[in-house]
Amino acid sequence: MYPHERSLVEEMKDKPFALIGVNSDSTVEKAKAAIAKNKLNWRSFQNKGNGGEISKDWAVAGWPTVVILDENMKIHYRGHDGEAATKIAEELVAKMEAGNK
């Protein structure tokens, strides 16, 4: 998953796109070690463990879970399939770019 997300962020860096993480590692140190090791390039909320408040609110029961929001923060995808999620995100970005022209 990491290489895919990393290159997605890279590819979309000049587009109206943001990859935001909700990190559920038990400590910040653990998360930062993973970021350093895998050269991760996105900003994350601290969820403080997989029983944290954010994932509890969202009733996330399996990791990783991906949610895709459009520019108005409407939910277009929620699930565990990174490829399907990416496709939907790319379509939404393309639609925005077409509308701006």
């Binding site: 109206p16 796109f17 895709i68 520019e71």
Partner: protein
């Protein structure tokens, strides 16, 4: 807790028979002995688990003193075969009374024989459809399609809807409509029908946990599901800097619940 109940049951029976040795109440006796049988099963279950743990420990010690011998294979789970067999015996013993349900449930849970599991469920549906104990089948319904077959799972759910017990019907409705709540078009008839049936069930069931689970499934879809306006998230990033999800409004957001494990 269950052990305490069993002991109480035995004591009560003891008193009853002491007072009236000639004509012990048959009902009280049947009840106490069903509890006794349940205790027997529970003990067997614990023993099977203890044996299994012991065999893992033994195998691990064998590996620790490794002198070139291969690692012994350890089974993936305890051998509950004898438990299932004993439960089937008890189920036959209590056939015709609702006491049989708890033993049939154990047969379905512990047997590795599909036909035995199927027959256990069929007996519960045929003879105990109105028993409150059938609500224990609730959590089983989600994996019944993998355990037996999708057709069998569907017909079981359908038949449970005929129960006179509201909790049993509630579990069956939740299992039947969960898919529609999770994925059907929220403006469509399928979603509307499922939601209406489930909300009515949530009001009707006695089990508070079940009511919460039913309402939770709908809430999840309507607040955090596809088609919803996402609630904002406010928190701190890994450097402790406060930020909000809505700071990124105006862009397509790929929200990734991740962890390194």
């Amino acid at each position: 807790m269950r052990i305490a109940l069993v002991l109480t049951g035995t004591l009560l029976l003891g008193f009853a028979s002491a007072q009236d040795p000639v004509d012990p109440k048959p009902e009280a006796q049947a009840k106490a002995s069903a509890a006794d049988c349940a205790a027997v099963i529970q003990k067997m279950q614990q023993e099977a688990y203890t044996d299994w743990r012991a065999s893992i420990k033994k195998a691990r010690e064998g590996t620790a003193n490794d002198d070139g011998k291969p690692v012994k294979a350890v089974s993936m789970r305890p051998d509950y075969g004898p438990v299932a067999k004993k439960a089937a015996e008890f189920a036959a013993q209590f056939a015709g009374t609702d006491d049989a349900v708890q033993f049939l449930m154990l047969v379905v849970q512990f047997s590795t024989d599909k036909d035995a599991q199927k027959s256990g469920i069929e007996q519960m549906l045929n003879s105990h459809i109105d028993s409150p104990a059938l609500a224990q089948m609730g959590r089983m319904l989600d994996y019944l399609d993998r355990m037996i077959s999708p057709e069998f799972a569907a017909s079981t759910k359908k038949r449970l809807l005929d129960s006179k017990n509201a909790d049993v019907r509630g579990w069956a409705l939740l299992a039947s409509h969960k898919g529609s709540i999770e994925t059907a078009d929220r403006d469509g008839a399928e979603y509307g029908t499922a939601k209406k049936a489930l909300l009515a069930a949530a009001d009707a069931v006695e089990d508070k946990g079940l009511a919460k689970e039913i309402r939770g499934a709908i809430n999840l879809r309507e607040k955090y599901g596809v088609g919803c306006d996402s609630p904002d998230i406010a928190g701190i990033d890994l450097d402790g800097v406060e930020f909000k999800l809505s700071d990124y409004k105006g862009k397509v957001i790929f929200l990734d619940f991740w962890g390194d494990w």
